[in-house]
Amino acid sequence: MSVKVIIPTPLRQYTERQDSVVVEGQTVEEVLRNLTGRYRDLYKHLYSEDGKLRSFVNIYRNDEDIRYLERERTVVRETDVLSIVPSIAGGSRRASLPTR
C-alpha cells in the first residue's frame, strides 16, 4: 500500500525538490523508514541519534497528530495523507546567540 507524504519546505532539498512523495507502508513507521531509505539525508532531520522521532517533528495522519493515535504504530490506508509538520517556537530573554 502507498500513501502520500507531504514534505515541508526546509526538507524538500532532500527529496529532489518534491513537495510530496508517495511511499509504501502499512504503518507510519514503515512509511517513514521507507521514505528515509529512499532519501537518506532526510533521516538525521527526522530521527535523533538513538533512532527516535525528534521531539520537534510532528507527524499528522490527515488531521490527527499520531501522538494521540498509536504513534509510529498508527496504521495508514491508501487514502490517507501523512504530513511532516515542524514545531515552530522561540523567544527572547536568554543570552543572545553569537552570530556569524
Partner: protein, 161 residues
C-alpha cells in the same frame, strides 16, 4: 538566499508587534521561492500558544501550521518563514530561538521597545544547526513591481529596515 517583502507587509508585522506588546507576536510568511530568493506574498498572523510565558516565548501550534500550509498550497504558495517579536529585547536570535529553528526558513525578528516597533532583522539557521546568520532583507513596493516587470526595482536593506 535573500528574502523580499513589500513595505505594507513590513508595516503589518510592526502593527502586530505593537498590538501584541508586551507579549510576543508570531506569524507565518507565505510566498514563493523565485530566482534564488524568497518572495513574501502574504503575512499570516497567528495566535501565540504560549499562555504560560507569552512575554518571552512564542509557539505556533502544529495544527495551526498544518492548516496554514494547506491553505498556502491550495493557493499556490509555500511557507517560506516566520516572524516573531522580542518585546523590550534586541532583534537578535536567542539560544532558545536557535534550539527550535529549522534550516531554510527565514526567521524575522522585530524588536518592540516600550510598545514601539524598532529594528527588524532576518535570520537563517546554518545547516549544522549551530548558528544563525543574517539573511538579506529587501523591500519592494507593489507599485514599483507592477511598473518594472523587466527591471527589478527593489532596495536592499541588509538585515534590517
Amino acid at each position: 538566499m535573500a528574502i523580499e517583502l513589500q513595505r505594507h507587509q513590513i508595516e503589518q508585522i510592526q502593527q502586530d508587534g505593537k498590538q501584541t506588546y508586551p507579549n510576543e507576536c508570531c506569524g507565518v510568511l507565505l510566498g514563493k521561492e523565485q530566482e534564488g530568493r524568497k518572495v513574501v506574498l502574504e503575512i499570516l498572523p497567528l495566535q501565540n500558544a504560549r499562555d504560560d510565558s507569552p512575554r518571552n516565548r512564542f509557539l505556533i501550534l502544529p495544527e495551526d501550521l498544518l492548516h496554514s500550509d494547506r491553505e498556502a498550497r491550495r493557493r499556490g504558495m509555500d511557507i517560506v518563514g516566520f516572524y516573531h517579536s522580542h518585546p523590550d529585547h534586541p532583534a537578535r536570535p536567542s539560544e532558545y530561538d536557535r534550539e527550535h529553528a529549522w534550516p531554510w526558513y527565514t526567521y524575522i525578528i522585530l524588536a518592540v521597545g516600550n510598545g514601539l516597533p524598532g529594528e527588524m532583522t532576518a535570520w537563517l539557521l546554518s545547516d549544522d544547526r549551530g548558528s544563525f546568520f543574517p539573511e538579506e532583507m529587501r523591500i519592494a513596493d507593489r507599485r514599483s513591481e507592477k511598473e518594472a516587470a523587466s527591471t527589478p526595482n527593489s532596495e536592499s536593506t541588509g538585515s534590517s529596515t
